[in-house]
Structures are given as structure tokens and as C-alpha cells.
Symmetry: C2
Subunit: 174 residues, 2 copies
Amino acid sequence: MRLYVERGYEQTTVADIASEAGLTARTFFRHFADKREVLFAGSEFLRDAVVKSLAGVPATAEPMQAVAVALDATAELLGRDHRHSRLRQSVIMATAELRERELIKMATMAALMAEGLRERGVPARDAALAAESGAVVLRVAFEQWVEGPADADLRAVMRDTLARLTAVTGAGFS
Amino acid sequence: MRLYVERGYEQTTVADIASEAGLTARTFFRHFADKREVLFAGSEFLRDAVVKSLAGVPATAEPMQAVAVALDATAELLGRDHRHSRLRQSVIMATAELRERELIKMATMAALMAEGLRERGVPARDAALAAESGAVVLRVAFEQWVEGPADADLRAVMRDTLARLTAVTGAGFS
DNA sequence: GTCGGTGATGTCATCACGTGACATCACTGG
DNA sequence: CCAGTGATGTCACGTGATGACATCACCGAC
């Protein structure tokens, strides 16, 4: 992370990182699948939290309500370290390669949410739409939170954003 | 495309592609930024169409209405060659690397739509939400269309999907 | 018709990413 | 104390990607 911030992601070689840690490049690749992954390790926790929180919602709830609960859970985890989040976000946004990885992680989370919803009896397309919408809210809210003051509450931002999504997608379709 | 289908994306080297075309790898990289890009060349047309169609919508329309128009325009272009779309989609979905690229192309389109909306006076967050929701509809609808019969109309699928999105995101938030 | 520029291509060298195979060494349970 | 296990190193290699320079065909100006 320090190296990525100092010289930029592309200017940092794996050999740099490894030797900074007193290791060899080969060892780096034993711990991280590729050069990008080092910034995304730990996202399994997030995915687990989403899946688990989704499983805890009563099956009678509307799909989007279930997604809202899952979003609350992710906000809980994601909203802990504002400083770190901001730094990480700035590195990721500066590099297309990293944005790609970020997007596919999001998509993976969305796919998991959709699967969770389908298991609860939600039709496939509705499940996909609800889950992807959840991912949209997560992205937009997180971005706003990261740019804002350090003491803001990510969960509150999420809830606001979700409300706005409902308003925006509803407007003109009554 | 043929090589990607025959042996898979990762098993196809740039040298393979180039020599198949009677050229060298160096020349390949003069035409395509990287090995993936060969599958995504031409997406500028799509982006242009979105931007242009968005510009044509009266400024009084609701943001999501404007997005709907843009979706119609993309469906027009995207829905022309079902066979090709299906083949391309199967290659992309089979490889994480290609899915990543696909996602960032989508995200770029969404960012353009959001910018277009902001220029029309839509607040930044609403613009982002509407545009990203549009991208969600596009993805979900396209997937469904690609898997379905060859004579289905992508525009119709899009409109259905958009309606479902409104229903799903609205349910439980009245 | 030739000259000179321009664009597309080839050749060569070079890096960085990523992986397989094998060796080494520290630690740990029996 | 020994055998096994896991983390690391070393080496070799294929592939993706880029810079520098050469070549060649084509085309307009004179």
C-alpha cells in the first residue's frame, strides 16, 4: 500500500514489494494470486458477512428489504476505518487495472446476494435486479462516504442512498 | 474470436492470433491495446450512441426516463446480431479477465450517462444512481436476451426489465 | 518519372507478470 | 531424535507488453 501510494501502482514492481518485505517475488505470488490482489485480500470477510446476514432475514421480506439488511452488514464492516478506506480508494481509482478488479469483486458480491435471494424463492431476474441494485447503492454510498468527513456514518449514508435509489427509479413510472 | 472459441481465451497466445492473420505480435499490439481489447473494439459506437440519445431527451424529463431512452438506443445497436452476441458472451463469461474488462466498459458507459444527466441539472448522486441502474438493466436484460430465442427483441426485454427494476426497488419502500 | 513523406509492418531487445519444479530450512508432534 | 509439514528461496521458462529502429508500399507534389 505504501509503495502503491508513493510511486503509483504501475511503477511498483512485484520485486519492489517483495524486497521491501524482505522476501522474494516468488513468495509474493504464493500469498497473492496477482499483483492486484494484495489490495483486495480480506474481501472474503465482506462476502461472508453479506451471505450470513442475508440468511438471517425472514423469508417473507421483500427482496429489496433483504438486500437492505445485507447492506447494513457490509456498512458495519466497511465503515470502520475511514482513513484507510480513503487511501485505498484513491489508489484504486487512479488505475484502470485496479478499478477492474474492484468491479469484479462487487459483481461477485452481487452474484452471491442474488443466489441468496433465489434460494429464498425470489425469481431469478428479480433476484439479479435487487442484488445488482444493492451493489449500486453500496458503490455510490461508499464513494460519497469516502469523500466526506471522517466521522460520517456509512450505514446512514447507505440508507439515504437506498432511499434515493427508490425515488429515482420510481419517478416517472407510476 | 474463432481461436478464443476453439481453444479458449487463455490458451490462445497473441502470437497465435497474429500469425493466423498473417501478421506479427508486434502488429497486433499496434491495433489493440491488449489481448482482451480485440473483443471489445467497437464499443465506442455504443458509447457515442448513448451519449447522443441522452442529449436528445428534453431536459424536463425525469432522469430515469432519460436513461430509458438511452437504453432503447443501445438495444437498437446491441440487439442486431443474436448469434454473434451469444458467441461473444460465452467467451467473455468463461474468463474472469474478460469479465473484468466487460464490467469496466459498462462502468464507463454508466459514468458517461451520469455525466450527461448532471449536465441536464440532475444532482450528482441521483445521476449516478439512475445511470448505474440503467447499466444494471442493460446487463440483466442483455443476459436474458442472449440466453433466449434468436428472434426475441432486445428492446422489449429491456423495457420489461426496467419495469421490473422499478417494481423490485419500490416494493417495501412506500 | 522521381522525390520525399507517411503509414503500416517487421525485427530486435527488454521488462514485468506469473508458474512449475526442485532445494532448503525451521518448526513440531511422536 | 526423526519424520513430516509448511514457508521460503532458486532457477528456468512462457507470455504479455513496449520502445527503438529498419523496411517497404503507396501517394501527392514537382
